[in-house]
């Protein structure tokens, strides 16, 4: 019966496929090809086989950049998704009911605010707040007598990555909240009423109903935020440019430097290709988990 519906729909896919080939498939194939060459961006690329990749394996910066990504996944995907799920449930199911929708949407809007700001602006704001001499954070610490806690937040290799992580949590938290709250609207209120009748408390309802029903959104949010962490560039560019002494270097910035600063397009392509392979492999793992979860629901 699905078969009868599936005829004649292919035509709707034509513009999407053509555009994707031009903007995504062709450049992707070219980058993978260039990764096997030495090429400064002009002239003819010189074929060097896997040399760029063997060079990567011995490049400490390359390994460091991927290590930093793990921390950023915690800050951009794990913490915001879990905290966002809890906050969305509290706002939807508790604040909205006890204090009214007005409070719930006020809080949602406020927490979502950092998401709507341009990354570059975020960088300006935080770069200034965390500035060692005239930054607001160190001034606040001074004024409450905690000047011993004042740090060169972005300039000290020991703290730079943690500072960036904190900024990322601030930046990212609103996205899961909005996604989850819109997903929660799908849940039949009768489910909650039935749980109430059974005497379930808030936490039990959260675990039994919310977490279960919100699963599709949960996967989408976890997938998209993890990808965002792997691809992070703008915040690093404006906050630290990968510094100090590569303490916050990430693969995308590492590739960017090779493309446009060092004119090592082949090496930059190899870095991008490795990053892409990692992301695609991760995606397939996610996809498998998602289909398995879908099946267990049905």
């Amino acid at each position: 019966m699905n078969k009868s519906r599936s005829r004649g729909y292919g035509v709707f896919l034509i513009p999407g496929v053509l555009a994707s080939v031009a903007v995504i498939v062709v450049p992707l194939v070219m980058t993978v090809g260039i990764s096997f060459t030495r090429w400064p961006g002009i002239g003819t690329p010189e074929w060097i086989g896997f040399d760029n990749y063997t060079r990567l394996l011995h490049d400490a910066n390359f390994w460091a950049s991927f290590g930093h990504i793990l921390s950023l996944i915690v800050a951009m995907a794990v913490i915001p998704t879990l905290l966002g799920l809890l906050l969305a449930a509290v706002l939807f199911d508790y604040v909205a009911k006890v204090f009214g929708n007005r409070w719930a949407s006020l809080l949602r809007s406020g927490l979502y605010l950092p998401q709507v700001l341009p990354v570059a602006v975020t960088g300006i704001v935080w770069g200034w707040i965390l500035h060692p001499s005239y930054g607001a954070l160190n001034r606040i610490l001074d004024s409450v007598g905690l000047s011993s806690l004042a740090r060169n937040w972005l300039g000290d290799p020991k703290y730079a990555l943690f500072s960036v992580m904190a900024v990322m949590i601030w930046f990212q938290l609103g996205y899961p909240i909005v996604m989850f709250m819109s997903g929660l609207q799908r849940i039949d209120p009768e489910l909650y009423e039935a749980a109430d009748l059974d005497g379930a408390n808030w936490w039990q309802r959260f675990r039994a109903i919310t977490v279960h029903m919100i699963r599709p959104e949960f996967y989408v949010v976890l997938v998209t935020t993890t990808i965002a962490a792997l691809k992070v560039f703008g915040q690093i560019f404006v906050l630290t440019r990968g510094g100090p002494s590569n303490a916050t270097l990430v693969p995308s910035y590492f590739a960017f430097k090779n493309f446009f600063e060092k004119a090592q397009v082949g090496y930059g392509s190899a870095i991008s290709t490795v990053l892409t392979v990692i992301i695609v492999v991760l995606a397939f793992v996610f996809l498998r988990l998602q289909t398995r979860a879908d099946r267990s629901v049905r």
Binding site: R5, Y9, G10, F12, L13, G16, A19, S20, V23, I24, V26, L28, I34, V90, L91, F99, L107, S109, G110, L111, Y112, L113, P114, V116, L117, P118, V119, A120, G123, I124, V125, W126, W128, A136, V178, S182, Q185, R186, G199, N201, Q204, T224, K231, F233, G234, F237, V238, P251, S252, A255, F256, F259, F260, S269, S272, T273, L275, T276, I279, L287
Partner: protein
């Protein structure tokens, strides 16, 4: 487990009548915790707003945390004129609006074929769009840079619109296909019985019914494109073509940028985003409430 213990006492009276009463002590703890969190999130922006309208002398004397002695607008006006900010606003706006409209349209077409049409090989198409959405822009940037130069589209807003329409619609297709996969069959069957063709069904049934989701997609596409930094940084090199984030981002660390000018520049970067946010806030809320009525 505990489920049996909590299940046994049968409550008398309607349970939903006064749930607020029992929660009273917790109520304000929860609300206060949320308000503190809200304050932490919003505080950086407040600090920026306060210092953007403070004179450099006032800043030097009283630091970043005091309220301005008097409102000082020159910092903002000077910065606006120096970078021709109106031009950057228009560039950002037209790019984001075009991408949001075209991106949603492309997502709908793709998702119609994949989610509702369930065409052959749809799983592979979905995998493709998912992967396309995952790709780091770094793996596309150099060939795109190279190709756009040979097509004379380099340093032009058109190239940015085309690229982001495709990139955003990859996400839109993925999300919308899963929404359309659960599209009520009765509505489609009813349209078919009425003799509506596929285009008519799409425009008259599928798009109106899924409008809340499309509004959310539009909002995300607009904001994401407005905030994009990496590709615009590389593609829009001339002053006349820069978008707001690029214009502000490249000025960062400039020797001319003192503390109050930095705040002023941050504030005029924040304000348009806030404006769209307030506009979209309505769309989001409306979309969400409309989705609840089923």
């Amino acid at each position: 487990m505990t489920a049996t213990a909590t299940r046994s006492p049968v409550r008398s009276g309607p349970p939903a009548a006064r749930p607020a009463r029992q929660w009273r002590p917790t109520r304000f703890v929860v609300l206060m915790a949320l308000l503190v969190l809200l304050l932490l999130v919003v505080a950086p922006l407040l600090v920026v707003a306060v210092n953007a309208v403070k004179s450099p002398a006032d800043y030097a004397a009283n630091g970043p945390l005091s309220l301005p002695r008097s409102l000082y607008w020159s910092g903002i006006v000077d910065f606006w004129n120096r970078v021709d900010f109106g031009r950057k606003l228009w560039n950002s706006f037209i790019t984001s609006a075009l991408v949001a409209v075209l991106g949603v349209a492309l997502s709908v077409l793709n998702a119609y074929a994949l989610g509702i049409g369930r065409i052959k090989g749809r799983v592979w198409f979905l995998v493709f769009f998912l992967v396309a959405n995952l790709l780091p822009q770094e793996v596309l940037v150099y060939p795109l840079y190279y190709l756009s130069k040979s097509l004379h589209l380099y340093d032009s807003l058109i190239s940015i619109v085309i690229i982001f329409t495709v990139i955003q619609s990859a996400f839109g297709t993925y999300l919308l296909s899963s929404v359309y996969a659960e599209f009520p069959t009765e509505l489609l069957d009813a349209a078919a019985v009425d003799g509506a063709g596929k285009w008519r069904t799409l425009l008259r049934v599928v798009v109106p019914v899924s409008r809340p989701t499309l509004a959310v997609l539009f909002t995300f596409f607009f904001i994401w494109t407005w905030n994009e930094f990496f590709l615009p940084l590389i593609f829009l090199i001339s002053n006349d073509n820069q978008t707001v984030p690029v214009a502000l981002g490249v000025l960062q660390g400039d020797r001319l940028m003192d503390a109050t000018t930095t705040s002023a520049s941050a504030l005029i970067g924040i304000l348009p985003a806030m404006l769209f946010f307030l506009l979209f806030q309505r769309t989001l809320t409306r979309g969400i409430t409309a989705g609840a009525i089923k």
